[in-house]
Structures are given as structure tokens and as C-alpha cells.
């Protein structure tokens, strides 16, 4: 892996402009961190039964119908005035 090229590509994806004079330092640190993170590849792949999802609640509010349709016509010339939301 060409780390300097990699750092340039990732910085573009991350929308961060790394100054040219700092790319080498970033690439060096990145290489060391990635080598360490690669220890994850030594872990055995777990069976599906080992990785069952924990219980998770997402509390949802009840839906309330709000029917207040009025025929929509342009109110200001060609424009529509919409209700203020913020």
C-alpha cells in the first residue's frame, strides 16, 4: 500500500485538506496505526449464534393524523406561501 497516496485519497474522502508538508508525517503515523489495527485480522470469524444482536428499544411516538388540507393555489403571483416551520 502506498501510504502517502492512501492518505491523500482518504483526506479527499474526509473533506480535509492535509498540507503537503504534513502528508509524510500523517502517512507514517497512519501506517503504524493501521499495522496495529490489523491485529483484528487474527480474530477468528464468529458463528452467527455468537453474534446475536442485543435487545434494543426504539421508543416511537404514536402517529396522529392531521388532516387540514385546503386547496393549494399560488398565493403570491406564481409562488406558493408555505407554513412557517422554524
Amino acid at each position: 500500500m502506498d501510504l502517502k497516496k492512501e492518505v491523500k485519497n482518504i483526506s479527499e474522502l474526509a473533506n480535509i485538506k492535509i498540507p503537503v508538508d504534513k502528508i509524510e508525517k500523517f502517512a507514517d503515523e497512519f501506517g503504524r496505526i493501521l499495522a496495529y489495527m490489523d491485529t483484528i485480522s487474527t480474530i477468528a470469524q464468529y458463528k452467527a449464534s455468537d453474534t446475536k444482536r442485543a435487545e434494543h428499544y426504539t421508543p416511537l411516538r404514536k402517529d396522529k393524523a392531521r388532516i387540514d388540507y385546503k386547496p393549494v393555489r399560488p398565493s403570491e403571483g406564481r409562488y406558493y406561501r408555505v407554513p412557517k416551520v422554524i
Binding site: 485538506k17 496495529y36 491485529t39 483484528i40 421508543p59
Partner: protein, 483 residues
């Protein structure tokens, strides 16, 4: 000067009620200590607001018979938790001009109970760090020795409590950011079960791991604050609907048949001798109190750090994408020709090195072609770590292990070596990955520096951890804060 801020919350409450002290006196003491100590614990102080509130509260205390136990208690808040009308910088240049439009649920709950917030504490930038050195504004010093770091990322909160600048503080914990600084500063730090305390108003770092919790002088204060901040919040979709126990009331109940697992094996080989010795002495003491101990070995400790850093940075890369210099953030000079370039320049100038490193690591882990190898594998391993931990907790009520693999280190010692800094989280990330509650309690001093041990408990059983901590504290095993 009296050390009023060293008293526990029930004692301060009693003195306020009897009229022996006033809320203003507590604030005078806090602000005087902050100034005198010069530990750089705070980014912003709320002097005007807090004295105005103190006046109102003092009138209420005089008038009403039954006042809330938290009325008039001065508390510090980490500067990544929003307090309406005040700045929330997250220790970053990116948010130097940001004013919170609303208060976090935890802040609202405490203020509704009469707490006085005295200011916002320093932290590692966006809570990313273990030493409070990555803050854009200042480095906080350890109150026990100013050449040493206070830990991080809630280093300002832990140091403020240890230096008696506040009765308690709120911190946030993603991979150990409440527990590790609590250990380095010799105070109590509780990371609740994921979802137990609302994250609404906490600036997101890694949403599946972030938790807010109290940092205090003792177990009683932790119980009182936890009771106030915990509980369901419709504004946080990961908030748990279960009822909150009366932690304070239940502190003295049911210590019979408590079993604690003591971590042995590979993890203990990876910690410093001083920490191992302190932990050994501590567990010997615990054994003497009659609590039943058994050895446990938690498998997979060696992979917890990579798993944690892959998940946390992946989530951070997504959460921090909102800082584009338009909706939020640092604007700087106009040095660009196109929109994309503007984002890139502003994000480069607004973020510090560690934050950039983590955003890029997360972007890398989620990138097409690499996601299977890193992020997906980390997620599966996280589930395995969780089930393994839960299996152990079927046999014992809590697991005890060191909070940090090292004693506090010197300012500047690790800041240029990211991997060595990441290793500071070795003992704390597993409870974070498993979403379990954990508390760091002081376990004495080595070379004049505090050492902490950590208790990890079952899901939603913060009460058991607080009860054990309180019990151990009363046996005199915990050396009181030397400050």
C-alpha cells in the same frame, strides 16, 4: 478557607438548610480555588449566571421547608455538553464561536433540581484523547502533581473535582473518558449502562458508545447525581425506558452474598507493576471485608483496542462530517475557489491533529473494499466481547480490574505517540463495547500519584456498583483525596 466543597452533598444540604452556609459562599470558594489553583480545569466560567441563580436559590432555601437535596450544589459540566446560552467548544477551534441553543437533558434535569452550574470544563478535542492535551485551548494539570496529565478526555472535570473546585462534575465516556481521568485524579467516576442517561445535548463522538456520567468525591454523591440524571428521555432514541432505582436510598441495602470476579490472566500481564501492586493490595482488603472473590479471565482483551478504535473512529467520521464551516464551525479567511475546497480548508484549520487522524482512520475503515475487513469484523467481534462479558457476569455481581494500565504520565510524554496513547484505554474499552456500567474508585497512591480500580457490573445494575463502592469506602480501604 473552609473546605466546604469537600463535604458530601447530604452534608452541604444540611448546612444550607440550617443556615450555617449560603449558596454564595459555596460559589465564592469554588471560583477562588479555580483562580488560585491555576490548573486550567475550565474553559468557561458562569460567574454572573451562577451568582444570580444563587441569590434566587438562597431566598427559596430561607422560605421553603422542604428543599431538594441538590439545591445550591455547585457542579461543573464538561464542555461537550450543552448549556443553553453558553458556548460549547468541545475543546476545538472548530466550535470556538458556537453557542448552545438548548440545554442537554442532563443539564435541564440537574438545574430543575436546583443545581448551580459553575462553568464548562476542559477536555480533549471532541473527547478524543486520554490526557486532555489535545484541547485547542489549554492543557489541564493533574492536581496531585502539576507536571502530570489529569487523564482524559474528561480531565478538566476530574481535576476540578479532585482540586475541590466543584462538589461534582459531569463527564462523558466513550472508551474510558470518565473512568480513566477519575483514576488519575483519585476520585469516583461512573459510566452508566449505554442508554441509561440521555445523550440529548451531548456533542456526538461515537453514538453507539457515548455515555454521560458523574465524577464525584464519593459514592454517595455519585448515587444522588445518577438518580437525578438517569431515566427515559423521548429526545434520545437510544434512551432506555426502564424505571430508575433509588440509588441513594438503596446504597446501604443488601450487601449479603455479593460476589466479585477479580480479573487475572493476560490483561494483568499488560499493566504496570505499580498498578498491579495497588490492585493486589486493594483486592486483599476487599477479601478481608467478607465479600466473596473469585478469579475470572476475560478473553479477547488484546483485540478490544483495535475493535474499539475501528468502531469509534468510523462513527466519528460520520458524526463530525457536519462540521463543514457553513452549518457549524470555523470559518477563517477566504482561501478557496470552490465549495469543496472551502470544506477542506475550513476542516483542516478547525480540527486538531488527533481529530483529523481519527476522522481519517474512520473514513478508511468504512471505505468500499475495506469495510468487510475492518468495520464489519469489528462489529461482530464487539458482539462476542459483549456475550463473553455477560457470561462472566452470570456467575459474579461485578468484575474488578484496574482502570488504567499505567499511573498518570507526564504532560507531553505520550502526545507524539498515538498508539501508546490509545493503549491507555486498554482496561476501559471492553465495558464500553459491551454497553455495561462501570465505576472507577480510588485505590490508594503510588509515588504520590493516585491509582484507580474499576468495577464493571451487569446491564442496568449501576445500583450494585454504587453499593459495593459505598461499602468499600466505609471500610476505610479507600484513601481519601489528599488535596
Amino acid at each position: 478557607m473552609k473546605n466546604l466543597l469537600a463535604l458530601n452533598i447530604p452534608d452541604i444540604h444540611l448546612s444550607l438548610k440550617k443556615g450555617d452556609i449560603q449558596v454564595q459562599t459555596l460559589l465564592d470558594e469554588a471560583y477562588e480555588k479555580i483562580e488560585r489553583n491555576s490548573l486550567n480545569t475550565f474553559i468557561t466560567l458562569f460567574k454572573e449566571d451562577s451568582y444570580n441563580k444563587a441569590k434566587k436559590l438562597q431566598k427559596r432555601i430561607k422560605k421553603e421547608k422542604d428543599i431538594d437535596i441538590l439545591t445550591g450544589i455547585p457542579i461543573a459540566v464538561k464542555d461537550n455538553i450543552c448549556v443553553e446560552g453558553h458556548s460549547t467548544t468541545c475543546g476545538s477551534r472548530m466550535l470556538c464561536n458556537f453557542t448552545s441553543p438548548y440545554s442537554a437533558t442532563v443539564v435541564k434535569r440537574l438545574e430543575d433540581r436546583g443545581v448551580v452550574i459553575i462553568g464548562k470544563t476542559n477536555l480533549d478535542e471532541f473527547a478524543m484523547g486520554s490526557s486532555t492535551e489535545t484541547s485547542f485551548y489549554t492543557s489541564t494539570k493533574n492536581p496531585h502533581n502539576s507536571e502530570y496529565v489529569p487523564g482524559g478526555s474528561s480531565g478538566g472535570s476530574a481535576a476540578a473535582v479532585a482540586a475541590l473546585e466543584a462538589v461534582a462534575a459531569l463527564g462523558s465516556d466513550t472508551g474510558g473518558s470518565i473512568r480513566q481521568p477519575a483514576s488519575f485524579c483519585g476520585v469516583f467516576g461512573l459510566k452508566p449502562t449505554y442508554g441509561r442517561v440521555s445523550r440529548y445535548g451531548l456533542v456526538a463522538f461515537a453514538s453507539s458508545l457515548d455515555c454521560i456520567g458523574p465524577i464525584t468525591h464519593n459514592a454517595v454523591d455519585s448515587a444522588i447525581i445518577m438518580e437525578a440524571i438517569a431515566g427515559f428521555d423521548p429526545m434520545d432514541s437510544t434512551s432506555l425506558p426502564e424505571d430508575v432505582p433509588q440509588y441513594y436510598y438503596e446504597l446501604t441495602k443488601g450487601m449479603e452474598n455479593i460476589r466479585i470476579g477479580v480479573v487475572r490472566g493476560k490483561l494483568m500481564e499488560s499493566v504496570e507493576q505499580d498498578v498491579r501492586d495497588a490492585m493486589g493490595e486493594f483486592t486483599d482488603g476487599v477479601k478481608f471485608t467478607g465479600i466473596q472473590l473469585e478469579d475470572v479471565d476475560i478473553a479477547g482483551f488484546d483485540v478490544c483496542i483495535p475493535v474499539y478504535y475501528i468502531i469509534a473512529t468510523s462513527e466519528a467520521s460520520s458524526n463530525l462530517a457536519r462540521y463543514d464551516g457553513i452549518r457549524y464551525g470555523w470559518v477563517g479567511e477566504d482561501k478557496y475557489n470552490a465549495l469543496r475546497e472551502m470544506y477542506e480548508v475550513r476542516r483542516n484549520e478547525g480540527f486538531g491533529e488527533e481529530v483529523k487522524r481519527r476522522i481519517m482512520l474512520g473514513t478508511f475503515s468504512l471505505r468500499a473494499g475495506y469495510k468487510d475487513k475492518y468495520y464489519d469484523k469489528a462489529i461482530k467481534t464487539r458482539q462476542k466481547i459483549r456475550t463473553d462479558f455477560e457470561e462472566i457476569l452470570k456467575r459474579v455481581d461485578a468484575v474488578i480490574l484496574p482502570t488504567s494500565p499505567t499511573l498518570p504520565f507526564k504532560i507531553g510524554e505520550k502526545i507524539t505517540d498515538p498508539i501508546s496513547m490509545y493503549m491507555s484505554d486498554l482496561c476501559t474499552v471492553s465495558a464500553s463495547l459491551a454497553g455495561l456500567p462501570a465505576i472507577s474508585i480510588p485505590a490508594g497512591y503510588r509515588n504520590g500519584l493516585p491509582v484507580g480500580v474499576q468495577l464493571v457490573g451487569r446491564r442496568l445494575e449501576e445500583g450494585t456498583l454504587l453499593k459495593i463502592a459505598y461499602f468499600i469506602e466505609r471500610t476505610g480501604l479507600i484513601e481519601t483525596n489528599k488535596k
